[in-house]
């Protein structure tokens, strides 16, 4: 394996950190443009003294810049402050909900890869029914709103056929419908990329060389061919996984899945700054890490890539 200059990885991490800073600045800035949270935190009949006390308690009386720097210092120590409405440390709240989101997004991601790669490859190599299927998946996948699909799936599979539980967090049976609903759009995008990537790779000279060596078609396509498609696929897969985590909120609502998406939606509705910033920050952190892993994976697959 070509040695990877550690400097390159460090440079990637630096880039990741810069991106994360961007994420936190954006969240913090907009979160504060939303008006006075105290009105929501205290029931309508609380006295003004209580409100002032609360403002100090929440640190809202300091200038915004100080609040942001405070936030950043705490964030780096994993302390995102106290959630206004849940009255618990944001970190524990988000970390408590993170497994549910990761489980859902992870399963959807696995389904997406598990279907997209074989479908894409066979659509590019054999065509016929697999090309039709891919066409169908990509056309419908991108067109059907995921929440509508979710509601329909529940109606048909859970209520009429009683095959699976309607929703809620639990074992595998609870995971099936939400994961499928969430994975559909990723399947649409990924399978198209694999198919077009594979079609292009099959035109390459080294494929002809592999065939001239009399290698079995299986090896020509799945070793020689697929490996060369993996680099763009892995990069996109990294983005897809990140997207799954953030756009799972709609599916979490439909399937009552206790993920961070719903946590953030509650936080939004009630101007819970710390919870909002914590959720978006941690999701952003997850995203940066995922992309970092994707980059390193790409470098391992294609040694020509210098981690510039």
């Amino acid at each position: 394996m070509a040695a990877r200059a550690p400097a390159a990885i460090f440079q990637r991490c630096l880039h990741g950190i810069a991106v994360l800073l961007g994420v936190s600045i954006a969240t913090f800035a907009v979160a504060h443009a939303t008006g006075d949270p105290v009105t929501l935190l205290i029931s309508a009949s609380a006295s003004e003294a209580t409100r002032a006390q609360m403002r100090v308690h929440l640190g809202l009386d300091q200038p915004v810049i100080i609040q942001y720097l405070l936030f950043l210092r705490h964030a780096l120590q994993g302390d995102f402050g106290q959630s206004f409405i849940y009255r618990q440390a944001v970190a524990t709240l988000v970390l408590q909900r993170l497994p549910a989101t990761l489980l859902l997004a992870g399963t959807a991601f696995a389904i997406a890869l598990g279907i997209s790669i074989p479908l894409g490859v066979s659509a590019a190599t054999r065509g016929g029914w697999s090309a039709w299927l891919l066409q169908g998946f990509s056309m419908l996948g991108l067109a059907i709103p995921s929440f509508w699909l979710g509601l329909m799936l529940v109606l048909i599979v859970s209520v009429w056929l009683r095959l699976l539980p309607v929703d809620g967090y639990g074992g595998l049976s609870h995971l099936v419908l939400p994961a499928i609903t969430l994975s559909l759009q990723s399947i649409a995008r990924l399978s198209r990329l694999v198919a077009s990537g594979m079609r292009e790779v099959l035109r390459a000279d080294y494929i002809r060389t592999a065939r001239a060596k009399g290698l079995l078609e299986r090896r020509v396509i799945w070793v020689h061919g697929l490996r060369n498609v993996l680099v763009p696929v892995v990069t996109m897969a990294g983005l897809e996984l990140g997207d799954l985590i953030s756009s799972a909120v709609v599916v979490e609502v439909v399937f009552a899945w206790p993920g961070i998406g719903r946590l953030a939606v509650n936080a939004l509705g009630q101007r819970d700054f710390p919870l909002l910033q914590g959720t978006v920050f941690i999701a952003g952190l997850g995203f940066v890490l995922i992309n970092l892993v994707a980059d390193i994976l790409c470098a391992r697959i294609d040694p020509r890539i210098r981690l510039a």
């Binding site: 394996m1 070509a2 390459a204 000279d205 080294y206 002809r208 060389t209 592999a210 065939r211 001239a212 060596k213 009399g214 290698l215 079995l216 078609e217 090896r219 070793v223 020689h224 490996r227 060369n228 697959i301 294609d302 040694p303 020509r304």
Partner: protein
């Protein structure tokens, strides 16, 4: 096994309405080296790919006779062809940069032939691959076996290609312009290497090129192709000494010689093969054109030389 490794007669190859190869016959004996020369687009590569049936499914290929290693290629199932390719007949391609898989190590790309065709285990394949690298003149094979193609020079990469071709211990080696993409100094070296390997292993060799000069020292017999057809076949000495077909003459004259450093440039360009050609394709550019040239000339023989030109009728 009979000594005839490859025996093709009346080969026609059409891509859609493009007649890439028309009525080509060629055969190669064990230990014999045949050169195929022609400008690009003359159908020489297409013919070679057809020999191993490597064209995509929608290519129209017919032949009066097409024997390869005792198999009738016209009726051989794909599985049988796969066993032949790489094992009985191996091929080397022109551009080593694109012909090798950029994401597999050199060792893997040689080893996989050993595993597929000669039942080597993974570790034994690696050892043998190193041995093969040594044979094709790559020093310090142990260190370089794990490297990737982009970490080798053009010449080195072509040696890797040769090593992977030899891995199957083939009886017939088809080299499709192996040195064209390399610079001159390396070309001669590789040519000598291939010639040496062919002699040592008593392989049949087909050397496809458009460089007449380099081929001289390697091949026994030469076939000249123009616009998909064979215009002249002759032993190498008689071809150089007494070329019969006007095109061959023009080709030889365009070679740079001591007294004519730049050689005489042949006017015009090879015709586009997609128009259905009748008559002698070279007629438009032929100095001694005659009325009869409008019909397709058969191969007239003069001793061991055959040439398709009405002037010899």
């Amino acid at each position: 096994m009979s000594d005839t490794l490859l025996d093709i007669a009346g080969l026609n190859v059409r891509f859609g309405d493009v007649a890439a190869v028309s009525d080509v016959s060629i055969s190669v004996m064990r230990g014999e080296a045949v050169g195929i020369v022609g400008e690009s687009g003359s159908g020489k590569s297409a013919a070679m790919l057809a020999a191993l049936r490597l064209h995509p499914a929608d290519t129209a290929i017919e032949a009066a006779r097409h024997m390869l290693g005792g198999q009738d290629v016209r009726r051989a199932p794909e599985r049988a062809m796969r066993d032949l390719r790489g094992r009985f007949a191996a091929m080397i391609f022109q551009d080593p940069l694109t012909a090798l898989n950029p994401l597999l190590t050199v060792g893997e790309q040689i080893g996989e032939v050993l595993v597929r065709h000669r039942g080597f285990g993974k570790r034994a394949a690696k050892a043998e691959a190193m041995e093969l690298l040594g044979q094709v003149g790559i020093a310090d094979a142990a260190a370089r076996i794990g490297k990737y193609p982009h970490e080798f020079s053009g010449g080195m990469r072509q040696r890797v290609m040769i090593a992977s071709a030899l891995a199957g211990d083939p009886a017939l080696l088809i080299a499709d312009e192996p040195t064209t993409a390399l610079d001159v100094t390396v070309q001669a070296e590789l040519a000598r290497l291939i010639a040496r390997l062919q002699r040592e292993r008593q392989m049949g060799l087909i050397w496809v090129t458009h460089d007449l000069a380099l081929m001289a020292g390697i091949v026994d017999r030469v076939v000249v192709m123009y616009a998909g057809r064979i215009v002249e076949m002759a032993p190498v000495e008689s071809l150089y000494r007494a070329p019969l077909h006007p095109y061959t003459v023009a080709l030889l004259e365009s070679l740079p010689r001591l007294n004519t450093p730049r050689g005489r440039i042949l006017a015009g360009a090879p015709p586009r093969v997609d128009r259905t050609l009748t008559g002698c394709a070279f007629a438009p550019r032929c100095a001694s054109r005659m009325a009869q040239c409008s019909e397709t000339p058969p191969l007239f023989s003069r001793g061991e030389t055959h040439a398709a030109c009405w002037a010899l009728a």
